[in-house]
């Protein structure tokens, strides 16, 4: 079956298009730096982006959940790398399919639920737009089905699936020509895989057109603030 994977295509093309478009916009004529600083611009901007000092100062609880969220996300991305092809350095700790065994995903789900409920009960609710809720719910469903796939394997006693089958599927998706191995569809927990991929695809398609592009845009933005 020679079909084209739409979600990853939209994801890659969308991100590249938006980043290129943003970089090519006309620059602001004056500086947006508030105080003249003698600190070097780039390390300071990266510190702002990755350690979120302002949020730590004003809302430490939110900061903690944000760090858990982003670190868990990063770990999951690294974990998915293994599902593309073998990386011997990642097998430093022996494991079967996923290093976290579902616990990293669980932490991520807890952080997502915290963000969602925080948004729902906030006294300033009218600030939120539908996009905020959609993204959180979509991501929550993706992470739920993805992280519990590993546990579902043992519930349905289908340990026969090896990492090779997952690899064949995910790498075929990334090369934009999806091919589904038979083993995966006939196993008991295939519904989790399918739902996970479905929600992940929706999320990937939504990515370039939503506020999550702040993941790429904060880099030029923080250098603006730091001169």
């Amino acid at each position: 079956m020679n079909s084209l994977d739409a979600a990853f295509l939209v994801f890659f093309v969308g991100i590249v298009a938006r980043v290129v478009k943003m970089v090519r916009e006309p620059k602001h004529p004056t500086t947006l730096q508030i105080y003249p600083e003698r600190r070097p611009k780039w390390p300071w901007a990266l510190y702002d982006i990755f350690l979120l000092p302002t949020i730590l100062r004003h809302k430490p609880v939110l900061w903690a959940f944000l760090m858990v969220f982003h670190i868990a996300f990063l770990l999951l991305i690294i974990g998915h790398l293994e599902l593309i092809r073998e990386f011997t350095v990642l097998q430093a700790i022996e494991h079967e399919v996923f290093l976290g065994k579902g616990f990293v995903g669980l932490l991520l789900s807890i952080a997502l639920l915290y963000f969602l409920f925080r948004r729902l009960v906030s006294p300033n609710r009218e600030m939120s737009v539908p996009e905020d809720y959609y993204l959180l719910i979509l991501l929550f469903l993706t992470v739920l089905f993805g992280s519990q796939m590993d546990w579902a394997r043992s519930w349905y006693e289908y340990d026969s699936l090896s990492v090779e089958d997952y690899r064949a599927y995910l790498s075929s998706l990334l090369y934009l020509r999806p091919e589904l191995p038979e083993n995966l569809t006939f196993s008991g927990h295939s519904f989790m895989l399918i739902l996970h991929v479905f929600f992940a695809n929706l999320f990937l398609m939504f990515f370039p057109f939503s506020k999550i592009m702040h993941s790429f845009f904060t880099i030029p933005m923080n250098t603006l603030r730091r001169g």
Binding site: E25, K27, H28, E126, M127, D132, K211
Partner: protein
């Protein structure tokens, strides 16, 4: 508002959209830290003293008229220009 004024205003808006403006309009995640960070809001908790609220007034017009999404599915980003106009009218000077 007649057509000519509308086009004039949209052209004025577009002339202000440089890289910095677009970055700030795109990256706001409505996280809520600017409510606690602003000492004015801490002392008088009104909507009009929230930085994100003020930016949102501009952002909704930006999303409605200057993004493809604003024309096809404005609901997603809350791209409601009428909301902006209503809130501008009610914000006292």
């Amino acid at each position: 508002m007649d057509q000519k004024t509308r086009e004039e205003l949209l052209r004025l808006f577009r002339s202000k959209l440089d890289q910095a403006m677009k970055l700030y309009l795109e990256t706001c995640t409505r996280c809520g830290v600017c409510y606690s960070a602003c000492h004015v809001h801490e002392s008088m908790p009104h909507l009009k003293y929230i930085a994100a609220y003020r930016a949102e007034i501009v952002r909704r017009i930006y999303n409605r008229y200057f993004k493809g999404q604003g024309r096809i599915m404005p609901h997603v980003r809350g791209a409601d220009a009428a909301w902006s106009i209503a809130h501008l009218a009610s914000t006292p000077r």
